[in-house]
């Protein structure tokens, strides 16, 4: 196909394809029941190539982690689907077939134009439950995928527009809160049918051949643009690493070892020296591993468009034999929320040494998942509650990191606390900025969050899948690490319980009056803390971000306890001493 596309049509078709996806995103999110989708935007809709599942377009506000995974998922459907007809729809959540974890359920709808398969429309949404040992699916101690829940290979759930009630019954019989999940299923399917309508209108307007030729041209251009970005990075081989606290089962850190080779406009990513597959659920399926690398690049170069061409110059060696290439039946619930963020961190930390003028220190990098399943005796019902939390972002090349940012791989908001208290028998005692947690630097990290939540009635079981409890998010260019994650379970009449794995645990029994205390990580610092302007440090003390004692140690600035005035002589003497000590 070498049809010439005029530049105007090309731009218009590009906008048109993205808008189809935006409309699917919006319809899905507004109609969904799972708060993870409706409030946290944990969903994504896109258009994929009919032959190989390559990404053609994704919405502007689709969840980042899904941008790379969905094309592998679509490919898996294409390879398995037989007798595809208009109005069909496949459901799948198999992590090993182009997925993330089981809770991310994908719908695939073949798009036919005038009787001929043109492409696939697909979306992913995070369901609140897909069965398994722990409500919500984040089992910190699962040792195989069966313990994590119901696994669906691509299955034709809708046949020529008609729901297969038997398959639906199997799905609904194996998950918790099935009564509400039916609402999500309908919302997810409706989004794809809205996409079908809009894409048909676009094709009617511009013609099949023009749209097809535009897609090819847009892919070529995106690749060209990504190559231009990579070419800005000096050639060479660079190394970086990042650590996860543990896999939740074996209490040892997991290491991501990254080798990045830049050769002209091509990038080679090799993580095959990383830790071997793990017992617990911190294994990462290959689709997610790849997607994490793409997200990191998109965060560094946000203006590159999103289609398969963008990924073309990024060559990723399959990290065989590591926890970043999970094979059946390895448990994987932590891969999307935690491992992917740590892969991004390794990418950021590596490139911060090479192109610091575009980079930032490590963000909190954990979704901070705390799940509580219990019984409310007053309302006489069982409940499953999640709290996801944010943390500080890293200091960046031109400013301090923001506080309480969302996960690197997400764009999700947290639920209002007042809404949580309406739904569940809990009471928040505190939700505050975690003082002192921002990593010191010329541009300091943002701050994490401290929250305390108390159980008011009945009994419950708590589980945690968080990370960055052993070491904090990395500082770069001489900046310090951010404060690590902390969790304390305070049961009445018992000493405080600290999680042996720092950030992961499950099956902790709680009763009325018991409390959970969480402190989320601060972001890493960017640049030498001794270069931070004393006046900025004074203001940090005045606002209570740090104590005077902390800033004398972290920044070498001498200031009174209220942050009213800097002592310039003492500061300069202290900084001289500290500089000499590190030199």
């Amino acid at each position: 196909m070498s049809m010439h596309i005029d530049p105007v049509t090309l731009a218009v078709v590009q906008n048109g394809l993205i808008q189809v996806c935006n409309e699917m995103d919006m319809a899905f999110q507004r109609a969904a029941f799972s708060p993870v989708i409706s409030e946290a935007f944990d969903r994504s809709d896109g258009i994929y190539h009919r032959d190989n599942g390559e990404l053609i377009a994704q919405g502007d506000l689709g969840l980042p982690i899904f941008m790379g995974t969905m094309q592998y998922g679509t490919r898996a459907v294409i390879e398995r689907a037989k007798d595809v007809r208009p109005g069909d729809m496949y459901i799948a959540n198999d992590p090993y077939l182009g997925g993330t974890h089981l809770m991310d359920v994908r719908f695939y709808r073949p798009f036919f134009y005038r009787g001929e398969l043109f492409c696939w429309l697909a979306n992913t949404g995070h369901w609140r439950d897909t069965g398994g040992a722990v409500p919500g699916g984040f089992s910190a101690q699962a040792t195989d995928v069966e313990m994590e829940g119901l696994r669906l290979p691509p299955v034709k759930l809708v046949k020529e527009g008609k729901m297969d009630e038997e398959i639906l019954a199997i799905v609904l019989s194996n998950i918790r809160t099935a009564d509400q999940t039916i609402g999500d299923i309908k919302a997810q399917a409706a989004a794809l049918s809205i996409g079908d309508k809009r894409l048909t209108a676009l094709m009617d307007r511009y013609g099949r051949d023009t749209v097809e030729a535009s897609i090819i041209e847009l892919k070529r251009r995106a690749a060209q643009q990504m190559r231009a970005k990579i070419a800005q990075i000096p050639d060479g081989t660079y190394h970086g690493e990042a650590f996860l606290d543990s896999d939740g089962v074996v209490n040892e850190p997991l290491r991501i070892s990254l080798e990045l080779k830049i050769a002209g406009s091509e990038m080679h990513v090799d993580m095959s020296k990383s830790s071997p597959p793990c017992m617990g659920p911190m294994n990462c399926v290959i689709a997610t591993t790849r997607s994490a690398v793409y997200i990191a690049m998109k965060h560094i170069f946000p203006d590159v468009p999103l289609n398969a061409g963008t990924f073309e110059p990024i060559h990723i060696t399959d990290p065989e034999g590591t926890f970043l290439y999970a094979k059946y039946p390895r448990p994987v619930s932590g891969c999307a929320a935690e491992v992917s963020q740590r892969i991004c961190e390794a990418m950021f930390a590596t490139l911060a040494n090479v192109i610091p003028d575009k980079l930032f220190a490590a963000p909190a990098g954990t979704s901070g998942n705390f799940a509580l399943g219990g019984h409310d005796p007053v309302r006489n019902r069982n409940y499953v509650m999640y709290i996801f939390s944010g943390g500080g972002y890293g200091g960046w090349y031109a400013g301090d990191g923001i506080s309480n940012g969302c996960s690197t791989i997400g764009i999700s908001k947290t639920q209002p606390l007042e809404v949580m208290e309406q739904f569940y028998p809990i009471l928040f005692e505190e939700y505050s900025l975690r003082e002192g947690s921002g990593g010191a630097g010329k541009n300091r990290g943002g701050f994490g969050v401290n929250y305390r939540v108390r159980i008011r009635r009945g009994t419950a079981i708590a589980s945690f899948v968080m990370d960055h409890g052993r070491v904090g998010p990395q500082g770069v260019q001489g900046g310090a690490d951010g404060g690590p994650n902390t969790v304390i379970v305070r049961r009445q009449g018992q000493p405080d319980y600290f999680l042996p794995h720092f950030s992961k645990d499950q099956g902790l029994h709680m009763a009325e009056g018991d409390m959970v205390l969480v402190g989320t990580p601060g972001g890493g610092g960017f640049g030498d803390a001794l270069e931070r302007a004393p006046e900025q440090v004074r203001r940090d003390v005045a606002l209570g971000y740090y104590t005077a004692e902390q800033v004398s140690k972290m920044y070498g600035v001498v200031v009174d306890a209220a942050g009213k005035a800097v002592d310039p002589e003492a500061t300069s003497a202290l900084r001289k001493r500290m500089g000499a000590a590190t030199a």
Partner: protein, 683 residues
């Protein structure tokens, strides 16, 4: 005493419209906006209208004072007293980042951390008191904030939406100590759940309240000094107006009142022309605002965000803004694809053709090269720049990189810009379950009528309406706006188990409060009306859908049915398995003001007898890949009931209307141009 005045302050100009209801005379004036203190511009505009201040029966004022104060953070020093453990809610937000991609950016809370103090108290989600209010603690915190120099105060307590007792008591204590009236309780501004959104809305109110209060007091003083003896009315973001005596108390309601005023005028004008369903399209120099009107009523939102992480959740006209305006810059991106905006050349340097040193092609420049704008009649030109020079730059910057001539490149710029604007129109219509084909496109703003026909064709909207005075629509909005107050109460109960008596009581309470407030304002009105609505969702959802509520027929069955229908229209999903929940009950109390006879806007004496009288020129204009010799008409001289075919250009002082080939124009009885756009001709 029959003269009423509407004054809207815009970024560049302050527009005034004066209607003498007795004689039918209308005056329109346009003076430069005085940025430091908008009051001077307002007074200048009245002076320019040439009527004595003592002769005016009422003045309705739309001001950008509060919007600008927020966007530029020229706000009062605010202190917050909040529930123990929650001082950082306003700084932590909802765990977001400024951009989906890119881990950089800044966020500054409206109230810095050292001015947010905690007191012990706690109310639970059912309204029960967990810990009593520490009244001494409130007094101490208030004194500390005063000592720190705060001018305005917010009381923001957790769960106050369900039980405001502690907030009310704390406000009472604070008022006894506070030297001015600037004490804002969150539940009084927005009795709705979501602690961040309610807190920010209250903090915005507190931050702009002294600013607005000072401005209004000064303006009233100046007006009084010149002999004006009646109340000054002020426009709000909900498209209604309110007495200046109470406006500052709920200052947050005035944010974005200018654009809302334009939408209100559109609704009024379109209704008078027989179009109840309208999409408004207001294109100016830097941005484009679009909104939806159904049955003559501008649609409102309660989830507006002024900028990143600054939600303002009081009801506002639902205006969708995109960064496409006459000054939007066209460029070729790294992938070699033509993009237009959102970067704007602004007022300085402005488009190339303004001759202020602009070197980057804009939408206005493209329109000029295509003959759509009259080079001789451009406003705001400092140094005349030849069309040939503008064309040369477009060719160099855009054409050469795409293999297009200057004219082709200019046409491409307009096409891409139109495509983006059409996308915005789709979002307010199609994405909300509304078919654009059922609507008319109401074009205003300096550049709206220039692009409207093309957009209508793109979206298959059959009719475009260009009002008599497209450049001063917001000033007209001030004249036709009704007095309006909005009330909301959170219920949050499944419809099945809903206590319907409670809903009725809420509605009656809201009506009584609305009536009391409006009557207390003593604004001349012809009657009070109420619009009721319910925010609803299926159990377990977090978004709500607002549906109209008929007070006479409030029952569980009816509420359920209305919701299910509205839900299906919007999302194409039926959910009989799941229970519907009534989240909030809303009432808008509307004091109907006397309308304006729109015929008065037309200068019937200036009209020509025939079309030929109005024809002032003819020039070549580029449409659809070819130049067309196009007649140019002078709007004021068009004869009564004029009717002509495109291509045509209609010029008037404040805008240029483009009629594409194949379209037909008719002037209706009140002077509006109705353009009929051919259907199915879209390319």
């Amino acid at each position: 005493m029959s003269k009423v005045v509407g004054i809207d302050v815009g970024g560049t100009f302050t527009d005034l419209m004066l209607v003498d209801e007795a004689s039918g005379i209308v005056r329109v004036t346009k003076v430069p906006t005085t940025i430091e203190n908008q009051a001077f511009g307002v007074l200048n505009a009245i002076d320019a209208a040439g009527e004595g201040f003592a002769e005016l029966a009422s003045i309705v004022h739309g001001t950008t004072t509060t919007t600008n104060a927020m966007l530029e953070r020229k706000i009062a020093k605010v202190g917050v007293v909040t529930t123990k453990g929650f001082r950082d809610v306003l700084e932590l937000g909802r765990r977001t980042r400024p951009h989906a991609y890119g881990m950089t950016g800044n966020f500054y809370p409206i109230v810095p951390r050292d001015l947010r103090l905690e007191v012990d108290e706690r109310i639970d989600a059912d309204g029960g008191i967990v810990r009593p209010l520490d009244e001494a603690g409130v007094a101490a915190a208030v004194k500390t904030l005063l000592a720190q120099g705060c001018e305005s105060l917010v009381i923001h307590f957790f769960n106050s939406y369900i039980n405001p007792a502690h907030e009310r008591r704390a406000a009472e204590i604070a008022r006894a100590l506070w030297p001015n009236p600037y004490v804002t309780a969150g539940s009084a501004i927005l009795p709705q759940f979501r602690e961040y959104e309610r807190g920010v809305t209250a903090a915005v109110n507190a931050a702009i309240r002294p600013v607005l209060d000072r401005y209004i007091k000064r303006l009233r003083h100046e007006l009084g000094g010149r002999g004006y003896s009646h109340d000054l009315l002020v426009m709000q973001g909900n498209g209604g107006t309110v007495s200046s005596s109470v406006v500052a108390e709920a200052a947050v309601h005035t944010v974005l009142s200018g654009p809302a005023s334009g939408v209100k005028a559109s609704a009024y004008t379109a209704m008078a022309s027989g179009f109840p369903h309208v999409v408004t399209y207001d294109m100016g120099g830097t941005s484009t605002d679009v909104a939806l009107i159904r049955d003559g009523v501008p649609q409102t939102t309660t989830e507006f965000e002024l900028e990143y992480a600054m939600p303002i959740h009081v009801p506002m006209v639902d205006i969708h803004t995109i960064g496409s305006g006459g000054g939007s810059i066209a460029f070729i991106d790294d992938a070699g694809i033509l993009q237009v905006g959102p970067e704007s050349a602004g007022a300085k340097p402005g488009p190339i053709c303004y001759g202020r040193g602009g070197e980057r092609p804009t939408i206005t420049d493209a329109n000029l090269v295509l003959g759509r704008l009259n080079a001789k009649k451009l406003l705001s030109v400092d140094n005349a720049i030849s069309v040939a020079h503008v064309a040369a730059i477009i060719e160099r910057e855009i054409g050469a990189k795409l293999g297009l001539s200057a004219v082709e490149a200019a046409a491409a710029i307009v096409r891409i810009a139109n495509d983006k604007m059409a996308g915005a129109l789709r979002i307010v219509s199609l994405s909300r379950g509304q078919d654009p084909r059922d609507f008319a496109l109401f074009a205003f703003g300096g550049a709206g009528p220039l692009h409207a026909s093309a957009l209508a064709r793109e979206l298959a909207i059959p009719k475009v309406l260009v009002p008599v005075r497209p450049g001063i629509t917001s000033a007209l909005g001030c004249l036709v706006a009704d007095v309006r107050h909005d009330y909301v109460r959170t219920v949050n109960k499944p419809v099945q188990s809903l206590d319907i008596a409670l809903v009725r009581t809420i509605l009656e309470d809201q009506r009584a409060e609305g009536r009391r407030t409006i009557e207390g304002e003593r604004i001349p009105i012809e009657g009070i009306e109420f619009i009721h609505a319910a925010d609803m969702q299926f159990q377990g959802q977090s978004h709500v859908l607002t549906v109209p509520l008929d007070r006479a027929a409030v029952s569980r069955e009816v509420i359920q049915e209305i919701f299910e229908k509205a839900y299906f229209q919007r999302f194409e999903v039926e959910l009989p398995e799941i229970r519907a929940v009534l989240v909030n009950v809303r009432t808008a109390a509307i004091g109907r003001r006397k309308g304006v006879d729109l015929k008065a806007l037309v200068d019937w004496g200036a009209q020509g007898k025939t079309l030929a009288d109005a024809r002032v020129d003819s020039r070549k204009v580029f449409f659809d890949d070819a130049w067309h010799e196009t007649p140019v008409y002078h709007r004021e001289k068009l004869p009564k009931a004029a009717r002509f075919d495109g291509p045509a250009i209609v010029e008037q002082l404040d805008t240029t209307t483009i009629v594409e080939p194949g379209s037909t124009v008719e002037m209706d009885a009140i002077g509006n141009l109705i353009i009929t756009v051919p259907q199915g001709a879209a390319r």
